[in-house]
């Protein structure tokens, strides 16, 4: 009798342990690995990843989405190992912290047969990513430059506040300068504002003290633009110039929507690109649509006419 109970208990436990695993076999598991929310834009990435996770789970019951964040490139590499070893993922959507250190860890997963989607920052080796989704940094500079030329009638004095010295910043700045080259637009000076509000405020204060006439400001980033606005207000020079930021922060989109004279437009580099990566990856498993390839998102010029399409009041960014 006692033996029967023991055997039965063991069998029951065994079945309980096995059953979910057997069920999980039918599910497609997608791992999503993104940087932790350390500033506004990555905050947006986190928001959109969570929103898309919910949507995909509710729409496709056979999909399981596992979302992990990492505080550094090394930590991200570790989470990739866990995703494969513990969750046995079929696909990986990754926004790499840095391209170089993550290329090998992602390739390891690829060799195990995992479907790979890379978002924003490309890997340094060709042929690993099945899907690549990214914003267009060159276009961001170009679109900003083209608007500048148009709005100023090809003539005027501007100042430029750049980001953190990185390749991304160089792409944007060089493309911007290419567009305004040959016009009569004169860049009085540029300084790094590190994609930071306080730096934007201080650099702009100094530009305002130094130059009696500024027709426009290219702040390249919405956080910097917010600092610039305060400096301009303090100097009481709101009527003399306008500011072009970038990224698509909700506060700035709102200003464009409301027809703020200081912020006539914004240029997108949307954190919602992580949603694109996740949705397209999901399609690979739930439909017969052809999805392999590269997706380069437009650096859309947000104007008062189309701003309502890009205004997401619930997003933290």
């Amino acid at each position: 009798m006692r033996r029967t109970i023991v055997v039965l208990t063991v069998l029951t436990l065994f079945t309980l342990l096995i059953a979910p695993a057997a069920l999980a076999q039918d599910k497609v598991v997608i791992g999503v690995s993104i940087p932790a929310a350390t500033h506004g834009w990555t905050g947006g990435i986190n928001y959109w990843a969570r929103v898309t996770q919910e949507r995909l789970k509710n729409t496709y019951p056979n999909l399981e989405i596992i979302l992990v964040t990492a505080g550094s490139a090394a930590e991200q590499a570790n989470t990739l190992e866990d995703l494969y070893a513990i969750h046995n993922i079929d696909a990986l959507v990754i926004l790499p912290f840095e391209s170089d250190p993550l290329t090998d860890p992602v390739e390891m997963l690829k060799m195990q047969g995992v479907f790979i989607t890379v978002v924003d920052r490309g890997l340094t080796k060709e042929g690993i990513a099945d899907i690549y989704v990214a914003g267009d940094n060159h276009a961001m500079g170009r679109v900003s430059g083209e608007y500048m030329v148009e709005a100023l009638g090809g003539k005027g004095d501007i100042v430029v506040l750049r980001g953190i010295p990185t390749v991304i910043d160089n792409y944007r700045f060089d493309s911007f300068m290419e567009v305004i080259e040959g016009t009569e637009i004169n860049v009085l000076d540029w300084q790094y504002a590190n994609w930071n509000r306080d730096d934007g405020f201080q650099v702009m204060q100094d530009f305002l003290a130094r130059f009696p006439k500024i027709d426009a400001v290219w702040a390249q980033d919405d956080d910097v633009a917010l600092g610039v606005i305060e400096a301009v207000k303090q100097a009481g020079r709101e009527d003399e110039l306008f500011i072009v930021g970038g990224a698509g922060m909700k506060e700035m989109i709102k200003r464009v929507m409301d027809g703020d004279r200081l912020i006539p437009v914004d240029v997108l580099y949307p954190p919602a690109m992580i949603a694109t990566g996740m949705e397209v990856t999901a399609l690979r498993f739930v439909s017969n649509a052809s999805v392999l390839g590269e997706y380069i998102l437009d650096a859309t010029l947000v104007t008062p006419e189309n701003a309502h399409l890009y205004y997401f009041p619930d997003s933290p960014f």
Partner: protein, 335 residues
Amino acid sequence: MNQLTTTRQAKLKELRSRMSWQDVGPFAAVIALMILGTTINPTFLSAANLTNVFTRSAFTGIIAIGATFIIGTGSIDLSVGSMAAFNSGMMIIFMNYLVKTWGASWAVILAAMGLSMVLGAVGGLINGFVITKGRIESFIVTLGTMGIFRSLVTYLADGGTLSLNLSMRGLYRPVYYGTLWGIPIPLIAFFVVAVAGAVLLYKTRFGRYVLAIGSNYDVAHYSAINVNRIRTLTYILQGICVAIATIIYVPRLGSASSTTGLGWELEAIAAVIIGGTAMKGGSAKIWGTVAGAVIFSIIGNILNLSDAISQYLNGAVQGLIIIGAVLLQRTSKDQ
């Protein structure tokens, strides 16, 4: 007898001249930098620009006054920048919450200011308590709390930015942008904190104990000074200084994010050292710290006003000027 008096007098005289240079050194550096700034771009001397520069130095300056006491005891506090960010975030959340029931009024601002002071004092108390009771190096404890405060503000802001309610912004704005008798309010706050710091350091028993602990920990301990209590008090004082800095920082941009106050700890510590306070403790110069904070602000301003230097080298030039300023001060002192 006579000879003895003369040697003593000579020694006294020498001591006095040393003291005076040590006190004057940082101010000489300020004047030298101002001349440099004017030569590079005459705009430097314009009232608007000078007001900007001095007002900007107020945040790190006020924090650095507190840091002068901590460094005076031979300790350090790395958590001030993160604490300022956390305090800013809490103030904004608190005001956005209160404004719903109380409406946009000064009562809301005063309540938030009170919250900031309490948070600052409690934050400092935690630092001081763990350092003294846990017998852990201040560097390690405050490195830890630096990370904790930084992640807390990131968490509160959901990784994004906390923004102050618009109606509150209009009301609170004058605390940063307003003036009293033509002087910007942040500058007045900076001056008041500096005077209070000077009185506390030079005229009270607490100040003498701070320096006694810094010059010789064991002697201070055996002289029946409650070393743990004094050290904890310096951290509370630092927390209150951070709170005051936060109170005038929040109305500037009306927002806080995980990048708020990034690097302020290093600027504050550098201002203290440039001002003539010894890193190992035992001597502290409040007015030197004030000059040190101003020096920092002027260097940044000069770099923005000139296009003679490649922007890629800004950091290098900043480094050279800081080392130069301290070198000038120290070598002159030894002669």
